[in-house]
Structure formats: structure tokens, C-alpha cells
């Protein structure tokens, strides 16, 4: 396959993957915010989140494969998951590797969700939040299309959407009373029965 076709494919699938990742991140935050409506019940939002995540992984896979088999620059197979293994734009590709690692962890734990502890799944899923700024920096750093105004516009929309949803989540979390394991402090315990008699 001609190198420039691969190069266009890498850039295109990368951009789409970034947009999809932003979309699924926003949807994930919306489910946590319980942003349901009669037309969009909670289970539907969650379903959409899951499906778009799968689509994201699909585009990400294409993006990775096309970038590696393109021989114009050398990005070895190892650098898909190992950061700093590429000789071309070491740091920015490394960010991409980190992003892939994070998303792989999320994908595997979600696939194995019935078998693993709920706490483990949630901890890994929180790491997924990190994958978005990592992917974003990777896109900026690789820089190929970042000069074009429509790309900048698209990326700014993604940033606005994710940041907006995240701020809304933080605001809700601060406002909602946390249903944590809060006990009445022990010194509030009643004095007990004054035992004046023991029948014996």
C-alpha cells in the first residue's frame, strides 16, 4: 500500500478516534451524573457509552496498524504498548502508547467485569479519564493536521464538551450528600440502664 494512503489513513482514523473518545468520555460522565430523561433513560445512555467505546477501539486499532506498517517513518510494533520505544517523535508517540495501555486495561477489565471485583473494575475505569488528556496531547504533539482551522475547531469542540461534562460532574458531587459509611460518633452513645437491681 502506498505510504501516503497509509499516512492519510493514520491521520483520519486518529482524528475520528479522538472525537469518538471524547464522545464516549462525555457519555460516561453523563451516566455518572444520572443525566437521564424520558427519551434517554439511564440504561440507554450506558448502552451508547459502551457501543461508542467499542467504535473508538476499532478506529484506534486502524490508526495504530496503519501507522506501524507505514514504512516512511519507523514506529516499531513494540511501541504500540511500550512508551519511548519509537525513534520517530519519541515523546509524542510515547503518549500514544500510554493511551493505548490505559484503554486496553479498561477494555479488558470491562470484558471480564463479571469475574473481577467491583472495586478493581472501578479503579481501572477511573484511569480511563487519564486516557483523554493523553490522547489529546498525543494529537497536538504529532501535530500533522493541527494547523488546519477545521481540525482546531473540531478539537476545541471536543475539549469544551469533555471539560463541560467534567465540571458538571464535580459540581454535582460537591452538592450531593455523599452516602458514605458515616457512623454516629461513638460518644453519642446512650448512658445505658442504671442497674439498681440484679435478681439473684
Amino acid at each position: 500500500m502506498s505510504s501516503s494512503v497509509l499516512w492519510y489513513a493514520t491521520r483520519a482514523t486518529g482524528l475520528v478516534a479522538l472525537v469518538m473518545l471524547s464522545a464516549t468520555t462525555v457519555l460516561g460522565i453523563l451516566t455518572a451524573n444520572r443525566a437521564t430523561s424520558p427519551r434517554w433513560p439511564g440504561f440507554a445512555l450506558q448502552d451508547l457509552h459502551r457501543r461508542i467505546s467499542v467504535i473508538t477501539m476499532g478506529f484506534l486499532a486502524c490508526h495504530i496498524v496503519t501507522s506501524v506498517i507505514d514504512t516512511y517513518v519507523h514506529i516499531g510494533w513494540a511501541s504500540i504498548v511500550v512508551p519511548f520505544a519509537s525513534s520517530y517523535k519519541r515523546v509524542w508517540v510515547a503518549l500514544g502508547s500510554v493511551g493505548v495501555d490505559l484503554l486496553l486495561a479498561v477494555a479488558v477489565t470491562s470484558w471480564l467485569r463479571p469475574k473481577i471485583r467491583a472495586r478493581t473494575w472501578r479503579a481501572v475505569h477511573w484511569l480511563a479519564y487519564l486516557s483523554w488528556p493523553v490522547a489529546l496531547s498525543h494529537s497536538f504533539g504529532m501535530g500533522t493536521d493541527m494547523g488546519q482551522s477545521w481540525v482546531i475547531g473540531l478539537v476545541l469542540c471536543c475539549i469544551a464538551a469533555v471539560l463541560g461534562a467534567a465540571l458538571w460532574r464535580l459540581w454535582l458531587a460537591a452538592r450531593r450528600k455523599r452516602r458514605a459509611l458515616v457512623f454516629v460518633p461513638v460518644h453519642h452513645r446512650p448512658a445505658g440502664v442504671p442497674v439498681k437491681h440484679i435478681s439473684a
Partner: protein, 441 residues
């Protein structure tokens, strides 16, 4: 801290020969909780000889013949519980549950202060039956003298070979539900001490890798008596389907609050009269803060699980709070509900949100709100919380409030029509409940 400055002879155990087979008889005779007095009165506990392989079976059979049921609140047949844990796995632990989170109960504190060796005998016997490797006595840390008394008793036994299984004393934080079995085991396992969801209670609780037999302190004390004196002496007191004696804590509008050892089957009124009510009895809160109110008409009911349940009451952990006529039942119920709402561990939504709502409804009713729908709304809210938590905490509150609505129906109707009663501001007869205002959340 209970102080037995004035005791009275127990009118319910009249046969002198059976006097030995009572929980508090030893205290009356010896006036000393130490090991020497205990052995002088009861003799050595019938611990198994090393290598006796049939002893666990025989012990289990003895307990079954006695018909002993748990004295911690659920009245579950002790032989069945023992068998469940025995068949799980050898080894494990025996947990002596003396947490007594119920504010109106003092019987376990009394047992551990005055006859600790009887409880420890029972624990050692149960441990031998299970092949357990440890015994853990759990007491609330608010009463450091109780923990100290138990530690002293444990220390006394070690040199005299009466402790084949090592005993440890632990102090989980003393909240209301801390004595719930799964909560206790959770804490002993290093967890937060909150109840767990147990859809199938037949699976025994585990501490580490071994099964745990959790028994109320009084139940183990009875086991020690049964092992010594035989099932027949246990059954000599009480009724055929509810044998033995039981410790009851009577408090409230009485002159002589305290712990009484009664034969099951004695009438409720006779027990209450022992404690000298200050004036006419209007109602009794039976079973504790999560139990049920009964009216004066139920005073003739025999005090045993089945007859009490038929009369709308609860034996539970042997708690009776007497309400005299100079008190407002609705106001007292509101105070109890408020306390119980604050004692939720915060794990289950219906309990966390529902109990404070119920307490608030009761408080408004007690204050005399002009709301004809108040009673119906309260009934609906109570139905919402009943059975919807992981443990029985909301169930107990639901039961208690429903019984209050039935027993104090007339008062509820008057309050709902805007009339608070004259006794609303009387000091509460409930054990002093500290901490005002809403539960910390």
C-alpha cells in the same frame, strides 16, 4: 456501670436444688466473680479429656435435648446453629457477643461483671465441640471496666488449665448494629464493622479461613449450665416449648430498674411488677428499640417467644421498657426512631433516607400537627423501609413504629387532629439518649 448494692430474692426459682442451675445463683451465694468462688459453687466445667473423639457429638446432642435457643435476640435454636458451623469445617473461632448495642439492655454487662467464668466456661465448651482455635470476647469500649473484668477472669483461668482454647478480648466500636453477627465478624476480619448482605444465612460466617460461631454471652452461659447439670435441669424452668431461664433488663418508669433472671413463661405483668412501676402501666416496649410496644392488656401474656409474638410483642434480647400513664407514647416512639435513624450504618438507601423520614413524621405527630393524613403517610413510609436493608435494623424500626401506632392509636388520632398531649414534655423514661439534632450525615 451496674452496682448490685441491693438485691432481692428471686421468686421464680423456688426449688433449691435447681438454684445451682441458674445464671445468677452463683453471684447471690458467693458475691464474688473470681474463679475460686465460681469453682466452689459450680465445680469444674466438664471439658473433654484430650483424645475424646465422641465428646463433640455428645455435647451437641446435649444442647439439642435441652432445647436452648439463642438469647441474643433471634431466639434461633442453638443446637442447629452449632451443627451448621460444625458441619462446615473443623477449627475456626467462637465469638462471644457481648456488644449489647441495645441501650435499654444491661444483661450481658451484668453477666460479664458478676459471673464471667460461666460465660467463659460456655465459650470453652463450644470451642472444644468445634475444634476451634480461638475464642474472642467482644465488648463495647464505652465500658472499660467490663473489658477489664473479662481480662481478669481470662488471666485467672490460664494457670488452672481451664482454658484449652486461648481467649482474646476485643473492643469493636459500640454502635447499635455493632453486635449484629455479620457486622461483628466484619470488624474482626479487619473491615469496617458494618453488616453484610446475607441472602442465604445457612452459610456460616468466616473469620479468616475458619468458620465462626457467634453466640450471645448469655447463650454460652446457659450452655455451661446445661453441660454441667444436664438438659433436664434446664427444662425444669420455663415452658415445654420455651425452656429455661432468661435474663430480662427492665427499665423505664420503674423504681427498681435492673436485670432479672426469670423463668420463660412467667407473665409479663409479674416481671414488670418485680421492678416496681412508679404508677399504672400504660404500655411496655418489649424486645428493645427494634422490638414492639404492647399495651396494658397484654400484661397477662406468658413471657416466651411464641405467646409474646401472638400478643404483638417481642422477647428478643430480653428488654422491657415500661411506660407509665404519665408519659406520651408517641413522643417516646419518636425519640427511639430518631436514635435508630442516627444509628444506620449508611449502606442501604431505604434505611439511610427512610428512617430519618419516619422519625421526622413521628416528631411532627408528637408535636401535634393538624394533618389528617399524617398517620396514613407514616404507615406508607414504614412499609417502604421494612425489609429493604441488608440487615434487620429498618425491619426493627418498622415493627416498633407499627406497634406504637396500634397501641397508641387513640393518642395518634388526637395528635393528628392537632392536639399534643399533656405529657409530651415529661422527661423521657428511655435510657438517657445523648446527642440532639439530626444524625451526622
Amino acid at each position: 456501670m451496674p452496682s448490685a448494692t441491693d438485691t432481692r430474692t428471686d421468686p421464680f426459682i423456688t426449688d433449691a436444688a435447681h438454684d445451682r442451675a441458674t445464671l445468677l445463683g452463683g453471684w447471690r451465694a458467693q458475691r464474688n466473680p473470681d474463679l475460686r468462688s465460681h469453682l466452689a459453687w459450680h465445680g469444674a466445667p466438664p471439658l473433654p479429656r484430650p483424645g475424646d473423639a465422641t465428646w463433640p457429638e455428645r455435647f451437641a446432642a446435649t444442647i439439642e435435648r435441652s432445647g436452648l435457643s439463642g438469647r441474643g435476640g433471634a431466639s434461633f435454636p442453638s443446637a442447629v446453629k452449632l451443627e451448621q458451623v460444625r458441619s462446615a469445617r473443623r477449627g475456626g473461632s467462637v465469638v462471644v457477643n457481648a456488644m449489647e448495642g441495645e441501650p435499654a439492655s444491661a444483661k450481658d454487662k451484668v453477666l460479664l461483671s458478676y459471673v464471667p467464668h460461666l460465660v467463659l466456661d460456655g465459650a470453652e465448651l463450644a470451642a472444644c465441640a468445634l475444634g476451634a482455635t480461638q475464642i474472642v470476647v467482644c465488648v463495647a469500649p464505652e465500658h472499660p471496666d467490663i473489658a477489664a473484668a473479662v481480662r481478669r477472669a481470662v488471666a485467672e483461668r490460664v494457670p488452672s488449665a481451664l482454658a484449652p482454647v486461648a481467649v482474646e478480648v476485643r473492643c469493636p466500636p459500640g454502635r447499635y448494629v455493632a453486635g449484629e453477627e455479620s457486622a461483628l465478624v466484619s470488624w474482626l476480619n479487619g473491615g469496617p464493622g458494618a453488616p453484610s448482605w446475607r441472602p442465604d444465612k445457612r452459610n456460616p460466617l468466616m473469620i479468616g479461613r475458619g468458620p465462626a460461631l457467634v453466640h450471645n454471652a448469655e447463650t454460652l452461659a446457659h450452655m455451661a449450665l446445661i453441660a454441667r447439670y444436664g438438659p433436664a435441669s434446664f427444662r425444669a424452668a420455663g415452658a415445654p416449648d420455651a425452656p429455661g431461664t432468661s435474663l430480662v433488663t427492665v427499665s423505664g418508669g420503674v423504681d427498681h430498674p435492673g436485670v432479672y433472671e426469670v423463668a420463660l413463661g412467667t407473665t409479663l405483668g409479674a416481671i414488670v411488677d418485680q421492678a416496681r412501676p412508679t404508677s399504672g402501666v400504660a404500655a411496655v416496649l418489649t424486645g428493645g428499640f427494634g422490638g414492639a410496644w404492647v399495651g396494658a392488656g397484654a400484661l397477662g401474656t406468658p413471657y416466651a417467644p411464641a405467646p409474646m409474638a401472638a400478643a404483638g410483642g417481642v422477647v428478643g434480647a430480653g428488654v422491657l421498657v415500661v411506660l407509665t400513664r404519665r408519659a406520651c407514647g408517641i413522643a417516646e416512639t419518636a425519640r427511639v426512631a430518631h436514635y435508630m435513624a442516627g444509628q444506620s450504618t449508611g449502606q442501604c438507601g431505604p434505611c439511610v433516607f427512610g428512617l430519618p423520614a419516619v422519625a421526622e413524621d413521628l416528631e411532627r405527630l408528637a408535636a401535634g400537627c393538624d394533618d389528617p393524613g399524617a398517620t396514613a403517610r407514616l404507615g406508607r413510609r414504614v412499609a417502604t423501609v421494612d425489609g429493604r436493608g441488608a440487615c434487620r435494623h429498618p425491619d426493627g424500626v418498622a415493627r416498633m413504629v407499627r406497634s406504637a401506632m396500634a397501641v397508641f392509636a387513640r393518642d395518634a388520632a388526637l395528635h393528628g387532629a392537632g392536639q399534643p398531649c399533656a405529657f409530651r414534655d415529661e422527661p423521657s423514661v428511655l435510657p438517657a439518649i445523648l446527642g440532639s439534632g439530626k444524625a451526622t450525615r
